[in-house]
């Protein structure tokens, strides 16, 4: 059974500093997803990572995938207030997505 663990679950960030969220999954998965959820909102797709060594970047966010280590990271560069939200990773098992518990980011000046 595929399980997905994220850490940390909460991250208090200072503006301008760099941070990393880690996502481990327990068994082989076809692909890895990252989503953002703002309070009271649905999920916004950030990245889908399809293969080992995949790296994708959008603005201050960069996601990478290491399938051998079963690890994906979401790196935040120079945090800004707009990045405050909950971030979920999800690994694909067959056609379904198995989600981590989410990491809630709070950015303060």
């Amino acid at each position: 059974e595929l399980k997905v663990e994220q850490n940390p679950l909460f991250l208090s960030m200072q503006e301008g500093k760099n941070y990393t969220i880690y996502c481990n999954y327990s068994t082989t998965s076809d692909r890895l997803y990252w989503y953002r959820q703002d309070p009271g909102k649905s999920l916004e797709s950030l990245f889908v990572l399809l293969s080992n060594g995949a790296v994708k970047q959008e603005g201050r966010l960069m996601a990478s995938l290491d399938t051998k280590a079963r690890l994906s990271t979401l790196h935040i560069t120079a945090a800004v207030h707009d990045l405050s939200a909950t971030y979920f990773c999800a690994a694909q098992a067959g056609t379904a997505l198995i989600f981590g518990k989410g990491t809630t980011l709070s950015v303060s000046s």
């Binding site: 997803y33 989503y35 909102k41 649905s42 999920l43 797709s45 990245f47 889908v48 399809l50 979920f88 999800a90 056609t95 379904a96 997505l97 198995i98 989600f99 981590g100 518990k101 989410g102």
Partner: protein, 114 residues
């Protein structure tokens, strides 16, 4: 990409009643899914809605409690039957549009059972 709408967006229901949630997609999709997000929690897959056949349910979810319809490639419904306060959650419809694309989520239906 896919644009997904859900109805209702929110509802307050009495225990013992049932609520049907609708999911409409702006294009034909093969895969449609229903997820539940309990307050402050992550998302859990309820079932995969299969067009032309019965839905495939995940462990812990049964058809009698969560009957699903999928009459065509753009529409699905999820019914939450005989509701109890424990069913208070956000219910999200999701679709997969292609092998290289992400899965998209609808805006969700916020359900409160009293």
């Amino acid at each position: 990409s896919a644009v997904i709408s859900q109805k209702p967006s929110r509802d307050i229901c009495q225990r013992g009643t049932s609520l049907t949630i609708q999911c409409q997609v702006d294009s034909q999709v093969t895969m449609m899914f229903w997820y539940r997000q309990q307050p402050g929690q992550s998302l859990t897959l309820i079932a995969t809605a299969n067009q032309g056949s019965e839905a495939t349910y995940e462990s812990g979810f049964v058809i009698d409690k969560f009957p699903i319809s999928r009459p065509n490639l753009t529409f699905s419904t999820l019914t939450v039957s005989n509701m109890s306060p424990e069913d208070s959650s956000i219910y999200l419809c999701s679709v997969a549009t292609g092998s290289q694309e992400t899965q998209y989520f609808g805006p969700g239906t916020r359900l409160l059972v009293l």
